[in-house]
């Protein structure tokens, strides 16, 4: 049975404004995160995964804006919170870890200053207590306190990513958004960092949103999976539902594109490219690449429908 929902979005829409026009980066996204579980968000590059993660914590790039929909956390629509109220949630209730550990720390500040600054910004403790919290946070990500005095350039990629995770979790938030936290790391370190996130999840009963372009990785680690395509959430459900019984043609193709150890020659990449989001195709955004395209797909935009318990898909083929 499903647990409690920690956060959900309703018809979320995000736009980026560029010289060429308006990028429709997210449209009608209905997404949810269940408490103390790990939800993977997958899809090809440019389909809006990071945008969704950053919209939830409301740190979009300066030319981006949430233009419609709601994000409900603890019964409150956080889209309507003032900048100051939102700031208090960031880091304290919702943490973010970004893709590239090389660039996500301030090169001019030591690890200690990063941690202290974050702690002191949110809670009223003495410097000594804050320092103790900082040390605990470091040891909880498996780093020695010796590293407190280090500057980012003195750390390895894996160490930096651990520091970034320590920073995002030092205040024991409820939700952790990890945006491709391991893409820039080598395979062994990747696994360690993901194990670490799972450990923290259990320890702090964290709700984790793991953004990744690697559906195999999501299948292995996640409890729930959301599949995104061209700014739409096209499929969402428990990991077994989505992986074993994929309903959207795009999800099926994504799964086929996974290199299979027994059968490497079977790998097929999805033909074609994701569309330009300034002028997305009408109707279903996937229709130009869809092997099951019907006439109606060009005209009508599919809505999310429930095909199994908690298993949703946005495809006109599944409409009864």
């Amino acid at each position: 049975m499903d647990g409690e929902v920690a956060l959900y979005t309703e018809d979320l829409g995000v736009r980026y404004y560029i010289q060429r026009g308006v990028v429709k980066a997210l449209d009608d996204v209905n997404f949810r995160l269940y408490k103390a579980s790990l939800t993977g968000v997958v899809g090809e590059s440019g389909c809006g995964k990071s945008t969704l993660g950053r919209a939830i914590i409301r740190v979009l790039p300066p030319n981006g804006e949430i233009t419609s929909g709601r994000i409900i956390y603890n019964g409150v629509n956080i889209v309507e919170l003032s900048e100051e109220e939102m700031r208090k949630l960031r880091g304290r209730e919702i943490g973010l870890v970004m893709q590239d550990p090389m660039t996500s720390l301030d090169p001019l500040m030591s690890v200690k200053d990063h941690l202290l600054e974050t702690i002191l910004e949110h809670i009223e403790v003495s410097r000594d207590e804050a320092l103790k919290m900082a040390e605990e946070a470091l040891s909880s990500v498996g780093l020695s306190r010796e590293l407190l005095k280090s500057y980012p350039h003195q750390l390895s990629g894996g160490q930096r990513q651990r520091v970034a995770i320590a920073l995002a979790t030092v205040l024991k938030p409820k939700i952790l958004i990890a945006d491709e936290p391991t893409t820039a790391l080598d395979v062994i370190v990747q696994k360690k960092v993901l194990d670490l996130i799972e450990d923290l999840m259990r320890e702090l009963s964290l709700t984790v949103m793991l953004i990744t372009h690697d559906i195999a990785l999501a299948a292995e680690r996640a409890d729930y999976i959301g599949v995104m395509y061209a700014g739409h959430l096209v499929e969402y459900g428990r990991v077994d539902q989505v992986i074993e019984d994929p309903q959207h043609p795009y999800t099926q193709l994504l799964l086929k594109s996974v290199p299979d150890i027994e059968n490497i020659s079977m790998v097929q990449s999805i033909p074609g490219l994701p569309p330009d989001l300034v002028n997305p195709p009408p109707g279903c955004r996937f229709h130009p690449r869809c092997p099951y395209k019907m006439d109606i797909c060009i005209r009508e935009e599919p809505k999310m429908i429930e095909v199994g318990e908690g298993h949703y898909v946005a495809c006109l083929l599944r409409r009864r």
Binding site: P62, G95, L96, L105, M109, A164
Partner: protein, 335 residues
């Protein structure tokens, strides 16, 4: 710290070749026409006078001997004696230098403050009206002709409104403070001469704002460019995502954006000195720039050569200081 000291020593030694090149260049330059004395004194002068001046300046020696004497002089602080008054050039230079230093320090501070402020405003309002306005400010100040701006200030604030003096370093009725550093504002504070302090400060307003505003445009531009770049970097997003206040996030960004500005300061310094020559002339500021201009008018070739050499060495020393600052501030630099 031992390593830092080491680095500084090495960096200072590296300045010597630069100084040598510049100083040699000045030497060649001064002999481009074959006979600087004739060029400066003019053809009308009687040959005996020219011959005597040539002898005094050592120009009758073979060229390599002249060069050796000259280089030895430069490195022992002997820049020769002025043709006109027979005073050691270095003494004249040291008399006039504090005035230039005082002017450049104040102008520098003003330009950096204005530049960082305007550049930051532009960057955090990227693409908006403020940004376009600040970009225009950068271009406009870059193009300002210093004497024009200085004279306008004198006319409006000095003559019409009467709130700043028209020129000079100190009013005639105020006696200069005792010589300690030669910077009036510092010496007067050190000796408790508040009257001299405020008077000197009032005299500094016109020239230092003229020079400061003209130079600020370069800082506006580079601060804006760096800050726009830094603000789009991951660690800024990460800092915001940790719930840091905007002011704190901007502080992070600014710190990083200002590091490359330090390098600019070295280059800007040359422009600062160029500007100082014009500013000093415009404001009857008795510094090294005015001295240089006077000596050229007097056709005092030895003094001109000495002053230009002094400027060359000064610029080289500044670039060493700038590099040292860089090394101290940025933890990424390994020395």
């Amino acid at each position: 710290m031992g390593k830092l000291a080491n680095y500084l020593v090495v960096r200072s030694l590296l300045a010597i070749p630069t100084i040598l090149v510049l100083v040699t260049l000045v030497f060649i330059l001064m002999r481009l026409t074959g006979d600087p004395i004739a060029a400066m004194v003019g053809m009308k002068a009687p040959p005996e006078v020219i011959a005597e001046l040539r002898h005094k300046a050592g120009l009758d020696l073979p060229i390599h001997e002249q060069y050796i004497r000259y280089i030895t002089g430069v490195f022992t602080g002997d820049l020769g004696k002025t043709l006109l008054y027979d005073r050691p050039v270095i003494k004249d230079i040291l008399d006039h230098f504090p005035a230039t230093l005082e002017l450049t320090i104040y102008s520098f501070i003003i330009s950096v403050l204005i530049g960082v402020f305007t550049g930051t405003v532009a960057a955090i309002n990227q693409g908006k009206f403020e940004d376009v306005l600040m970009r225009f400010y950068g271009i406009f100040t870059y193009a300002i002709f210093i004497p024009w701006f200085g004279l306008l200030l004198q006319m409006v604030f000095g003559n019409w409104l009467g709130i700043i003096p028209i020129g000079g370093r100190l009013s005639a009725y105020i006696s200069p403070p005792p010589f300690i550093t030669g910077l009036y504002t510092i010496d007067s504070l050190l000796t408790g001469r508040l009257d001299a302090f405020f008077d000197a400060l009032r005299h500094l307003i016109g020239p230092s704002f003229t020079l400061g505003i003209v130079l600020s445009g370069s800082y506006t531009r580079i601060v804006r460019a760096n800050l726009v770049d830094i603000l789009s970097q991951d660690f800024i997003t990460a800092a915001r995502a940790r719930g840091l206040r905007d002011s704190l996030v901007i502080k992070h960004a600014l710190k990083n954006a200002l590091i490359p500005v330090i390098t600019l300061m070295g280059l800007e310094f040359a422009i600062l000195l160029t500007g100082a020559v014009l500013t000093e002339t415009t404001f009857s500021w008795n510094g090294l720039g005015s001295y240089l201009v006077d000596m050229i008018r007097n056709s005092d070739y030895i003094a001109v050569q000495g002053t230009v050499v002094f400027f060359a060495i000064f610029v080289s020393i500044i670039s060493v200081i700038v590099d040292a600052l860089y090394a101290i501030i940025d933890p990424r630099i390994r020395y």
